[in-house]
Amino acid sequence: MTRLRQILALIQGDAQADRVVPRRGHSVRLTLFTSGAMAFLAVFALALSLAAGRLADRWSEALARSSTIRISAPMAELEPQTWAVLEVLEQTPGVESARALTDEEQRALLEPWFGPDLPLEDLPIPRLVEVIETPEGYDSEGLRQRLAAEAPGAVLDDHTRWRRPLVRAAGRLRMLGWVSLGLILASTGAMITLAAQSALASNTRVIRVLRLVGARDVYIARAFVRRFTIRALSGAALGAGLGMIAIAFLPRASEQGAFLTGLGFAGWHWLWPLVVPPLAAFTAFWATRAAAFRTLRRMP
């Protein structure tokens, strides 16, 4: 409660005490600009991290329970082997459903590469069978062996090969986003520390006069801390606001779900950027407080 009262007292401020330090110098603009720019970047890092998280979850969920069987055989054997595969699948425990993709679906899959007029029936295109697993899943090694016996042209692709690296990549991207946020926060703290030290150094005479009339270090520090905290809060609010506007104007995620078009906030995630200004103010509070006490300790 005491700490809360201190924070509230800091925000409420003491108009008289606040005036004892002159409002001048480049530290004002530096703090505003730094916290604004850092908040803008923080919003993007946050968006990147959240989008990467969504992507990892989506890939993980979407691919975990599906697999594909590719049947490559001469045209005459293609249909019998497809039926054989479907029959094997029907008898395999852990398979929820299985179906062969239609010509239209296969054409749609190939269309981005070969164009819309692909003569599918004249080409030795493998037949694809989509398999959906039950939550318990199937024994992929056993299924492979049975497929080899019943339909020698069938190859089971359970997506594990490429799902895992993708999910891992998305997870790392998410972590990178959080690391960026941490670095941004640390940089904000460092810049504000420098600005506070510069402000304290340029007010040596003011500090001396205050000390001679009985000002305690905590009083002197408070005048600087409050000022830098409010500046950081204002700058970060502006930067975060601009960042949110910029994110809002990014192209929306399309049905195809290409990664870059999905960069942004979804649903309640839009509340996350609102945390950035208080976080910047919190960082500024502690950075300035530490810098002020350190500098005051060194002053004669």
């Binding site: 008289q16 005490a17 005036r19 004892v20 002159p22 001048r24 005479r205 003011v206 001396r208 006069v209 205050l210 000390r211 001679l212 009339v213 009985g214 000002a215 305690r216 270090d217 905590v218 009083y219 005051l296 300790r297």
Partner: protein, 225 residues
């Protein structure tokens, strides 16, 4: 209240003050005199812990300044009023806020204090200059303002370093009267000055000890005063 026991102070290899013993008892009035550079300002700075003695012991309100924290020194200074020789102010604040600065830092800003401030500004003849910024003030005005700032908190001790150096005789007597009145109210006063006429004038109103610093030592002034 303020005790100096066998205190020494020097800059580099030069010893300015040595074996200096002084006790400012509550309610006492002391003048400190001596030639320029004799160490009057240094002695006052030792008294408000702006300097640390190189030997001996300085006690402020019963505490050894050598072991006091900055916080304790600040609290001790809140009980003192100091007129510094260089009369430093915050140049960005109007005069009345500078005079009220000791109240501000002590968190005292009630109606009583506001009334005292107006009265004091009038007493030192600066009521019309209350909105002026310190750089706009003359040397005499700065000294009067410094004295007003020193006594605004109704301190237990007033230490004044040449408080009348730049003011005319009439104003000097007026400022002296203020210090005498404070002393009659039980405040402890130490005034460093080379103005012997002022000391003589004061002695007609108040029982004051006159100390002289000579060759780094403190001695009672002779009958010439």
């Amino acid at each position: 209240m303020i005790d100096l026991a066998e205190v020494a102070y020097g800059y580099g290899n030069t010893t300015l003050l040595s074996e200096l013993t002084l006790r400012l008892a509550p309610g006492s009035f002391h003048f400190l005199t001596g030639p320029s550079g004799s160490g009057k300002t240094t002695l006052l700075k030792l008294c408000y812990a702006d300097l640390t003695a190189s030997a001996g012991k300085v006690s402020l309100f019963g505490q050894d300044t050598a072991t006091m924290t900055r916080d304790q020194i600040a609290r001790a200074r809140q009980r003192m009023g100091v007129v510094h020789q260089d009369c430093e102010f915050l140049d960005h604040l109007p005069l009345y806020e500078n005079v009220a600065l000791p109240l501000t830092v002590a968190g005292r800003s009630g109606d009583d204090e506001a009334g005292n401030l107006e009265e004091l500004m009038g007493w030192v003849g600066l009521a019309a200059r209350r909105e002026a910024l310190p750089p706009e003030l003359s040397g005499g005005e700065r000294q009067r303002a410094a004295l007003a700032r020193a006594v605004i908190t109704d301190p237990e001790v007033v230490l004044a370093d040449e408080p009348t150096g730049n003011v005319d005789w009439e104003m000097s007597l007026r400022l002296l009267q203020l210090l005498v009145e404070l002393n009659r109210m039980g405040k402890t006063i130490l005034v460093a000055t080379h103005d012997l006429a002022l000391i003589r004038a004061a002695k007609t109103h108040v029982s004051a000890r006159v100390l002289r610093i000579a060759k780094g030592r403190l001695q009672l002034a002779g009958s010439d005063l």
